[in-house]
């Protein structure tokens, strides 16, 4: 019975891991990069330098909005956090007519001047891609991503049941042993960061829980909105009275909210009916202030600046949900923990990638004729090349496009994103056209070359190249360039290994028969 269970779990692990493995690889890769989305954005906006104080920035933003759209229905202000330097503002125009993106938003510096930098979606795009994907309706993407995440959860648990010697194999990493090495790489990246993988997958499902499993709410609420109002509070729109009144100073309001939250900063401000006697100002606690992602909120009168309300304290379930989402997003993490998040995510990406490769490695020796594999085998192999080499190459191309596309290009941000997908597509086409044994080293080499080119191109196209930023102690730029070089090194080593393998020819089966079953 026990062996039977392990076999059925191995089967389940293999197929749940494979079917959406390519999507999971892309989700893991972009999700991992999202831990540094603010840093990536700063690298992709090299014109923006220095730091900004959130309170001074919010005051500057209010001055900008008073100049630009004094009669708007609402203003929304995201002052910079400790990792960013710009203020994002957007507003709801008085006449509510639909507008294009960019006409109702602006990026400001600390003094409230609009920043002119190259148009880019920055790290935010990579973050959004990991659950919204691209070129498809967001709703479909989120369902697809949810299915993939559930497959991942089942693959992880069945993988644990399958894995016999989970502690003995913990420190086992045998190099140059063919299938055994792939299995070790898969196991080590899986087991070392196992709590992370379980946490990130489960909490990822929780971030969109009410969409995937709406029936818990439907059981108690006839109207979904009643639930959301109970949780997030009602945001009723009050009509302007027409009686003008000067807006209360925003700085003291932010300080008083901070004081109420043990010094945690304000991360978001909403100002309704600015300049009117009915104005209100709502302040939300910054995401980096605590693990729980759903921050406390306080509302103030926009005329007197006195507090008029606040969010209800959360009960156990809502607090648990808030902490789960916060753990997933990691916005609370300081740099030490942030790097640990990043490394664990990288481990997860390698785990998914090595699992995909393992599928072909294990089956290659069993093929009736290894020189002419059947369709399914070829498909998996081609998709593996396109994803494991091609998707990272696409990310490198995204960074390169940021430096190389003309600064004044129309829809520049979209073209940056297109570069990612065109590169990915090109690698797929190449992999389909070339024999796999050749395509592997060549495409891994391409990814290495593109990553290595990023710091070089950065040095030639901006004044913030690696030598300069090293001398200036600009650690954000130094770290970004170094991570690019390390990724290049990793892919170059992979390419070399794949090239040598091709020279040796396919490895003959040297496994004990038992291993073949359990792995």
């Amino acid at each position: 019975m026990k062996e039977g269970l392990r076999q059925s779990m191995a089967l389940l692990h293999t197929w749940t891991g494979l079917l959406l493995g390519w999507l999971l690889f892309a989700m893991f890769a972009t999700g991992t990069s999202a831990y540094f989305q603010d840093e990536i954005t700063r690298w992709m906006q090299p014109e923006v330098t220095g730091d900004a104080d959130p309170v001074a920035s919010a005051e500057g933003a209010v001055r900008f909005l008073q100049r630009t759209v004094p009669d708007a229905k609402s203003w929304y202000i995201s002052p910079p956090n400790s990792r960013s330097a710009t203020t994002q503002v957007y507003w709801q125009p008085a006449d509510d007519k639909p507008t294009k993106r960019g006409e109702t938003s602006a990026m400001l510096d600390q003094s409230g001047r609009e920043i002119s930098t190259r148009e880019t979606s920055g790290g935010f795009f990579l973050y959004r891609f990991h659950f919204d994907l691209h070129y498809m309706p967001v709703l479909w993407a989120r369902y697809l991503v949810g299915v993939a995440a559930m497959f991942m959860l089942v693959a992880i648990i069945s993988g644990i049941i399958t894995h016999k010697k989970i502690f003995a194999d913990f420190f086992m990493l045998r190099f140059n042993k063919g299938q055994r090495s792939w299995l070790d790489a898969h196991n080590v990246t899986a087991v070392v960061a196992l709590p992370f993988h379980l946490m990130i997958t489960f909490t990822g499902l929780v971030t969109l829980a009410t969409m995937y499993m709406p029936w818990g709410i439907a059981a108690n609420y006839a109207e979904r909105d009643t639930f959301f109002e109970a949780v997030f509070g009602k945001s009723e729109e009050v009509a302007r009275s027409g009686k003008p009144a000067p807006l209360a100073a925003i700085g003291p309001i932010m300080q008083s909210a901070s004081a109420r939250w043990d010094g945690k900063k304000v991360g978001y401000l909403r100002i309704a009916n600015p300049g009117d006697a009915t104005a209100t100002i709502s302040a939300t606690r910054a995401a980096e202030g605590a693990i729980g992602s759903r921050g406390e909120e306080m509302t103030f009168s926009g005329v007197t600046g006195q507090p008029v309300g606040g969010s209800m304290p959360k009960g156990a379930a809502l607090a648990t949900e808030s902490v789960m989402i916060g753990l997933h997003a990691g916005r609370y993490a300081e740099y030490g923990l942030r790097w640990l998040y990043f490394l664990s995510g990288l481990g997860g990406t390698i785990m998914v990638g090595s699992g995909l490769v393992l599928w072909t490695v294990k089956r290659r020796t069993r093929l009736p004729d290894p020189s002419r594999p059947h369709f399914g085998f070829r498909l998996v192999e081609k998709l593996n090349i396109a994803t494991i080499a091609g998707f990272p190459a696409g990310i490198a191309a995204y960074f390169l496009a940021n430096r190389l596309l003309p600064l004044e290009m129309a829809d520049r941000a979209d073209h940056e994103i297109n570069s990612l997908f065109l590169t990915w597509l090109a690698v797929l086409v190449y992999a389909l056209a070339r024999p796999s044994a050749r395509a592997w080293p060549e495409m891994l080499g391409l990814a290495a070359a593109l990553f290595a080119a990023v710091p070089l191109v950065n040095a030639f196209t901006t004044a913030r190249g690696l030598p300069v930023s090293l001398l200036a102690g600009d650690w954000l730029f130094v770290s970004f360039d170094l991570v690019m070089l390390l990724l290049a090194l990793g892919f170059a080593m992979g390419a070399r290994k794949a090239a040598r393998k091709r020279a040796e020819g396919p490895r003959t089966a040297r496994r004990k028969p038992r291993e073949a079953v359990t792995a």
Binding site: M150, M213, G216
Partner: protein
């Protein structure tokens, strides 16, 4: 080809096409139905049986639902007998469905 591979692997213990198809049906659509009913029942039970705040009750049940779904999916492939698997799912869903129906019939939905 696939069959010879299965034999070589030694996993050839009568895993037929229908066997796998039936388990996939149990693991995904039937499992989703079962989990939805269980989640809704739990949300009702917490809110009306144990007088938890209804928003809290709904969220607690929703958080648990993913663990329920994953566990049932594993059982769909781990249980040896397919007949027993479907019996469990059918009985579970029938109980959940009727409890939910009774509970909703008594009202109290906001």
């Amino acid at each position: 080809m696939a069959k010879s591979a299965a034999t070589a692997r030694g996993t050839n213990r009568g895993i037929g096409r229908w066997n796998v198809a039936s388990r996939i049906l149990a693991a995904i659509p039937a499992n989703y139905l079962f989990t939805s009913l269980a989640t809704a029942c739990l949300a009702r039970l917490l809110a009306h049986g144990l007088t938890v705040n209804p928003a809290e009750a709904s969220v607690a049940a929703t958080l648990l639902s993913f663990a329920i779904f994953a566990t049932v999916a594993l059982f769909a492939f781990g249980l040896r007998s397919i007949a027993r698997l479907w019996l469990w799912l059918a009985v579970g869903s029938a109980i959940g469905g009727s409890l939910l129906w009774l509970s909703l019939d008594m009202g109290g939905r906001l």
